[in-house]
């Protein structure tokens, strides 16, 4: 009987576990014909967005492995990447060397921010997500302080095109036109009108390989142990706090690289708002790919990018077709992003509670059995 119940539960779990991707397949299936976009246009767009976003989303995987949930603090890395790009743009080092230099500049900033985030999250165990979320706002304030007030007087900025007319601070938009899509175009291949940015994909593949390799290292194993159960991991001699900090640092550095790849594709960025929504959209995409707060794979990343961004591309025009108002589709896709995250968080918390109460029941049963054994 026990077996039967387990089977039932697992089928239900399977449907529940994949309900979000299934729902998105449905939404896309309805919206794509309505939007009236051609197949090659859609494929092209999806390919572009895959190259643009995949690396950023990969940066979320390691904190999930370490049991720290969705890293809303990935915005920190994004800001580090932007600072790197601003400096490189000022030094007029363009093309791939410029991007590599920006990545190198972002590393120490990312490490510092990641360390800070990790230390703070260690003080807020059990509510990592809300804390990392608030950290991202807090650091946004610091970022504004640095970019709006310190760039110019303290951090030398030579070019007037970057500076605000008042003489210090960076303009609202930083143009990266001379290095727009330099990585994407470096080894681009066209297949039936669809541009495939091979070099970008190679970089993303390398990041995937790194994550696969990292999972097998001692540190990666430790991280999974910490993610499973902090107390058990501590008893096993793992330095839990240090492991968690390292996972945040790696994630932040990755997010910095991801942001640089993201922005080279776009070719310019709004200095004070480019990073603010990146976290939300990346997390939503990962969750759409079937990931949960405690479990995410590389497969989830790619499935998520494709499904989420297909919805993102077709929603506005499909919305216009249905209601006659273009804003409806815009709002709809924002709503869906938030709703997906909400649903994923609710599912995670209910599951956690269920397993806790199940464990309690098992413990009670075991105690009861033991007592019965004694009396007999």
């Amino acid at each position: 009987m026990n077996n039967l119940m387990k089977k039932k539960v697992s089928v239900l779990d399977l449907i529940r576990g994949n309900s979000v991707p299934l729902m998105f397949v449905l939404i896309c299936a309805v919206f794509i014909p309505m939007s009236g976009f051609s197949g090659s246009y859609l494929l092209n767009e999806i390919m572009t967005r895959l190259g643009r976003n995949a690396f950023l989303i990969l940066s979320l995987l390691i904190p999930i492995m370490a049991g720290m949930g969705l890293n809303f603090g990935m915005t920190l890395g994004a800001m580090a990447g932007q600072i790197g790009l601003i400096l490189v743009a000022d030094w007029q080092i363009w093309g791939i060397p410029g991007l590599v230099l920006a990545a190198i500049i972002s590393i120490p900033i990312s490490i510092l921010l990641g360390l800070m985030c990790g230390v703070l999250l260690n003080r807020a165990k059990g509510r990592e997500m809300i804390t990392s979320y608030i950290i991202s706002f807090f650091v946004n304030g610091v970022y504004m302080l640095v970019v709006l007030y310190m760039m110019g007087p303290i951090i030398p900025i030579a070019h007037g095109t970057l500076k605000l007319p008042r003489g210090y601070g960076i303009r609202n938009t930083v143009s990266l036109l001379p290095m727009r899509q330099t990585i994407d175009n470096a080894l681009a291949v066209y297949v039936g009108g669809v541009k495939i940015p091979v070099l970008t994909l190679i970089i993303i593949a390398l990041a995937c390989l790194f994550i696969v390799w990292f999972r097998k290292t001692k540190l990666g194993q430790d991280m999974r142990a910490v993610g499973q159960d902090m107390d058990v991991a501590r008893d096993a001699g793992i330095n839990v706090e240090r492991t968690r900090i390292i996972s945040m640092v790696i994630s932040t550095v990755f997010a910095g690289f991801g942001m640089i790849i993201y922005l080279q594709n776009l070719g310019n960025f709004p200095t004070y708002s480019a990073h603010t929504n990146v976290g939300m959209f990346c997390i939503a995409a990962l969750l759409v790919g079937g990931a949960s707060v405690e479990k995410a794979s590389i497969g989830n990343v790619f499935l998520g990018v494709i499904l989420f961004h297909t919805m993102f591309i077709v929603a506005p025009s499909a919305g216009t077709k249905i209601t006659g108002d273009s804003m409806i589709g815009e709002y709809f896709r924002v709503f869906i992003s938030y709703a997906v995250i909400t649903i994923a968080l609710v599912m995670y918390e209910t599951k956690k509670r269920k397993s806790q109460s199940l464990m309690g029941q098992m413990l009670a049963q075991a105690q009861k059995d033991e007592e019965e054994g004694k009396t007999e």
Partner: protein, 361 residues
């Protein structure tokens, strides 16, 4: 870890203890505000005007901050889902105008119409939060965001027709900002207002708004001392004990969430009343964070809050928000107020979330 805590406690001097009780960030923020008040006349800003602005903004925001109290008391944490209450309030505001009410009546009707929405949405929200005990704050944030973005679509789609509210050329879809002139703009603020402009001081006190806030605050204080109120506090401070004492934990939490949501609805109507405009669409999106950080600045923590916390916190927070731009501008010709506001408010929330002594699960 345990060892560290005990040794640091042992080394604490009385003075350190005092600062720790009050919280270092609060000391810094209070000091900063005092500095602003002292330097305002020196740099040439008119102090009475500044005080008027601060009190004005206090009267707009205080009820929204008060909405934090019930949920903190019942252990549901900081109500990042405040936008849900705000959305109910906005529904009340727009429907009251749509139904053709004007003047003071439109304000009363707005509250009356908002109430069933707040009860309904708050009930659903409370039910959800009971399912996910322990993860309230993150989910509350996203429930709020989802509600706001869902309503963005609704503001466009719902059949509103009142000419003051819809886009002129299309005839449908609400405007992003609706003026309340002729409805309840400054309705309470003007009631019994004390205006010292007549004797040459630029000081205006919106007595009516403050009275309404005081009424709600006293009601909240009285409620917390009723049997239900004490039971709610018991649930917040020790759920296991409360359950053993025969209190229905889930019911208490549900009541607190509904109260919070309703106060959020009334809070936004009070805000609109002072501000003179209804802000729709993404307007309510970021309204939870200032309210949350205000109550924390006032001395509340993740699981403890009182009415004085609300009053002190709102005053300090709004004081900084209104004073920094003018003082900074006159002193350095440089407006850093936005940056300071972001760092102070989020720093305060961060401090509350990462304090080891509090609410550790």
């Amino acid at each position: 870890m345990g060892k560290n805590v005990s040794t640091s406690l042992g080394n604490k001097t009385k003075f350190r203890q005092l600062i720790d009780d009050f919280g270092l960030p609060r000391v810094i923020i209070t000091g900063f505000l005092l500095l602003l008040f002292i330097s305002a006349p020196i740099v040439g800003a008119d102090l009475p005007t500044q005080i008027t602005n601060t009190i004005n903004r206090f009267s707009w925001n205080a009820v929204l901050v008060l909405a934090m109290v019930p949920m903190i008391h019942s252990g549901c944490g900081l109500n990042f889902g405040l936008p849900l209450g705000i959305v109910s309030g906005l529904l009340g505001a727009t429907l009251s105008i749509e139904f053709g009410f004007t003047g003071p009546m439109s304000f009363v009707m707005a509250i009356l119409i908002a109430t069933p929405f707040a009860l309904l949405l708050g009930g659903g929200y409370g039910w959800l939060l009971n399912k996910i005990k322990g993860g309230e704050m993150m989910i509350a944030t996203y429930v709020g965001f989802s509600a706001v973005s869902f309503m963005c679509m609704m503001w466009l789609l719902l059949p509103y027709h009142h000419p003051t509210m819809v886009w002129g050329f299309a005839g449908t879809g609400l405007r992003t900002v609706i003026s309340l002139e002729g409805f309840y703009d400054q309705l309470l603020a003007k009631f019994l207002a004390i205006d010292l402009n007549g004797i040459g001081i630029n000081l205006v006190i919106p007595t009516g708004s403050l009275l309404v806030f005081a009424l709600l605050a006293v009601a909240m204080w009285a409620f917390l001392h009723t049997k239900t109120g004490t039971a709610m506090t018991a649930v917040g401070s020790n759920p296991a004990f409360a359950k053993a004492a025969g209190i229905n934990v889930d019911k208490m939490r549900l009541i607190s969430v509904i109260m919070s949501t309703w106060l959020g609805a009334v809070g936004i109507l009070m805000y609109e009343q002072g501000f003179g405009f209804v802000q729709l669409y993404m307007g309510p999106f970021w309204m939870a964070l200032p309210a949350v950080s205000a109550i924390l600045i006032g001395g509340a923590s993740v699981n403890k809050a009182s009415i004085p916390n609300v009053i002190i916190g709102t005053f300090l927070f709004q004081g900084i928000v209104t004073m920094t731009p003018t003082v900074m501008n006159s002193a350095f010709h440089m407006d850093m107020s936005e940056v300071i506001r972001i760092i102070v408010s989020n720093g305060m929330i961060l401090y509350a979330l990462t304090r080891k002594t509090e609410g550790g699960r």
